[in-house]
């Protein structure tokens, strides 16, 4: 990397900028109103799949420490483009029919040729042998709705991001 001619102040500003892109959102100054964002979180149905400090559902990633563990751009992208760069392991939507006829639907917390660890909508864990599964349907996209860019206004998105950025367990 070539040396720069930046002043000390400019260097520190650059460091702060990079940290804002990569450091936890909870450590940044975020525009928006977290209280209003909490309302957006509630009215948008987020708690139907996600949980924060035990409130909500268990299908999707827990958000109690989302601000303390993810940079703001990552949180923003996860809301607006949930299927982009999707990392399936642990968040794959599956439905299965067992050989005994029972049907289950939920998130595959893990899956191999030999076993399936599925959590259903009610929060029950099902630890299955794949030999007991007759049919399995895997959703190719994120179970998270992909239309929040349209459903949320600019202000709502800003406030929701402020609320999520404030979610830190420390």
């Amino acid at each position: 990397m070539p040396p720069t001619n930046l002043t000390d102040d400019q260097t520190w500003n650059l460091v702060a900028f990079i940290h804002a892109l990569t450091g936890p959102a909870s450590e940044q100054t975020i525009p928006g109103d977290p209280s209003a964002g909490k309302q957006v979180y509630a009215s948008s149905g987020c708690a139907g799949c996600h949980a924060i400090r035990g409130e909500g559902a268990l299908l999707a990633p827990d958000l109690s420490n989302i601000g303390g563990s993810r940079p703001l751009p990552v949180i923003r992208e996860a809301i607006l483009e949930p299927s982009k760069d999707l990392f399936y392991l642990g968040s794959e939507a599956v439905s299965v029919t067992l050989k005994n006829g029972r049907k289950l639907e939920g998130t595959a917390r893990n899956r191999s040729n030999y076993s399936l660890q599925l959590i259903d909508k009610a929060g029950n864990l099902h630890l299955l042998r794949m030999n007991d599964v007759k049919e399995m349907a895997i959703r190719a996209t994120s179970p998270m709705p992909g239309d929040y860019a349209k459903r949320l206004s600019k202000d709502q998105l800003r406030d929701l991001l402020a609320y999520l950025a404030a979610q830190s367990t420390r």
Partner: protein, 531 residues
């Protein structure tokens, strides 16, 4: 998000949850608390694996714990899920397949250190971080329910032990006694982590017991870095305490240094100390009392007793009356013991003069690691024997003349550990005598505990990285397996769908074993990908 709004509330109420009464019953298919039951037995009634068929044991799965280097955790198991901890982290694993279900880690923790395990109640699994947060997670998802700070790492305290859950309380201890701190046992609310009571193991100046100290009482140690046991009938906790600080330099702390190197009996509801018994007054060899207080009703000296048994690092095996704290008996746990002639009628060591650390170094047995240590012991009610990992090892103890400075990695000196022979010993609680012993090869580095079963099998690790099964009655070897690295944790046993497993953490991984079964070829399901 919208597809899952409706079905939450009603179904959640129907799910199985761990109740205090479940822990009270002791292990069945599940293993719900660090030592299996409140009495500290590490004993399971499972009988599928027996002394007769143990030669058919085979590995079932291995789970490599991410980034683990020296696991010290004893797993718990509930409803087919095994939970294993490491430093500031916990992993939920399918107990039948070894596949990870979720993991939680806190990379922002301000301290690092070993973690010995987790606890479970309701739908929550609990652990502590090295910087003293009690963490409650949803057992199914790993989602955080709360994190509550209970001690200040800036005062030298860290946390390593598995929490003990009794009724609605999470009992936690404290570590850090080798650098100066003030030890305590605390009861925190299982609901939200708030403190219910805290009992210090070193008195404040002016309090009873403070006369047994000198200048450094505020940093006196008495850490409580191992979980304790609980007697539901007496509603009493039994907790052991660590060494006084500075470990090897006793001149600044003249006196017995209460309540270090002791067993304390605490009321569950208030934390009030009912009695204490000090095994090693004015310890100068770092012989914490951190070894299990095991609660057994048995005959001692010809009388039925509610006893608490304790194999101590100082080389003696004690029996006390757990109602009153009365000293009942002490016998030698090891053969190489040079610092005391024995234990007197009141339970105080009859010390041999000249055994303290010196600037030049003083050769004393047992070594600083102790005649035994925190590795889990097992009491089997069917054999009536207590199984203890013992170490015949001596060492040279040095004392520093440096002025003690707390929280500076200064322990007042140091000690060597030279050679050593690990011997697994079966002790008769009635007499304190050995029923059998099983010496193992190795360099005296072993920290593995035990578990025993109604199938008549004792499982433990050895000093060379093997996991072994012994006949619980005779000590005869039944089976062994080379894990490829030394284990520093205690095994457990559990059952899923009627099949018994035995699990133990090695340095980096969890191994689970069961009886051999012919392979079941995989028959993959018809799979479709929905665009």
């Amino acid at each position: 998000m919208r597809y899952c709004l409706l079905l939450l509330a009603s179904a959640a109420a129907l799910m199985a949850q761990v109740k205090h009464e479940d822990i009270l019953k002791g292990p069945r298919a599940d293993w719900l608390t660090y030592a299996g039951n409140y009495q500290g037995w590490r004993y399971s009634p499972l009988t599928q694996i027996t002394a007769a068929n143990a030669r058919m044991i085979a590995p079932k799965w291995v789970y490599r714990v991410p980034d683990a280097k020296r696991l010290a955790s004893s797993p718990i198991v509930y409803d087919g899920v095994l939970y294993i901890t490491d430093t500031n982290s916990i992993y939920a694993v399918d107990a039948r397949s070894g596949r990870q279900i979720w993991q939680w880690a806190d990379p922002r923790a301000k301290s690092q250190g070993v973690n010995r395990g987790s606890a479970i109640l309701g739908n929550r699994v609990y652990l502590t971080t090295a910087d003293n947060f009690l963490v409650a997670l949803d057992r199914r998802s790993g989602g955080v329910i709360f994190m509550k700070k209970f001690a200040d790492e800036k005062k030298g305290t860290t946390s390593t032990s598995a929490p003990l859950i009794v009724k609605d309380k999470v009992i936690v201890g404290s570590a850090g006694g080798d650098s100066g701190m003030r030890g305590f046992v605390a009861a925190l609310s299982a609901d939200d982590g708030h403190e219910i009571w805290r009992t210090y193991t070193v008195p404040a100046r002016g309090e009873p017991g403070s006369e047994s100290w000198g200048d450094l009482i505020e940093w006196g140690g008495g850490a409580t870095w191992l979980s304790g046991t609980y007697d539901p009938e007496l509603n009493t906790l039994f907790w052991t305490t660590g060494n006084p600080w500075p470990d090897f330099a006793g001149a600044t702390r003249k006196g017995d240094n209460l309540y270090t190197c002791s067993l304390v009996s605490l009321d569950l509801d208030t934390g009030k100390m009912k009695w204490h018994f000090q095994f090693t007054p004015h310890d100068t060899h770092d012989w914490d009392a951190q070894s299990w207080p095991i609660l057994v009703d048995t005959e001692i000296n010809g009388k039925p007793r509610k006893a608490v048994l304790h194999a101590n690092r100082n080389g003696f095996f004690y029996a006390l009356d757990r109602v009153t704290g009365e000293f009942l008996r002490a016998t030698k746990l090891i053969d190489n013991l040079t610092w005391a002639k024995g234990i007197d009628a009141k339970g105080r060591p009859i010390e041999i003069p000249g055994q303290d650390p010196t600037p030049e170094g003083n050769w004393v047995c047992p070594s600083v690691k102790g005649a035994t240590n925190w590795m889990g012991q097992s009491y089997n009610p069917l054999t009536g024997l207590l199984y203890v990992i013992t170490l015949e090892q001596c060492g040279r103890y040095n004392m520093s003349s440096q002025v003690p400075k707390p929280m500076s990695n200064f322990s007042g000196g140091g000690a060597t550990e030279e050679g050593g022979q690990v011997i697994i010993r079966a002790l008769d609680p009635k007499t304190g005598k050995r029923a059998w012993e099983y010496p193992v090869t190795g360099a005296g580095r072993m920290w593995t505990g035990t578990v025993s079963t109604a199938g008549g099998v004792l499982f433990t690790g050895d000093d060379d990285g093997h996991f072994v099964a012994l006949d619980a009655k005779t000590g005869k070897n039944l089976w062994h397996f080379n894990m490829g690295e030394l284990s520093t944790a205690s095994p457990i046993t559990y059952s899923v769908d009627g099949k018994q497993f035995v699990a133990i953490a090695s340095a980096t991984s969890v191994f689970s074993f069961g009886l051999f079964e012919p392979a079941d070829p995989a028959t993959p399901p018809i799979t479709t990908v929905v665009k």
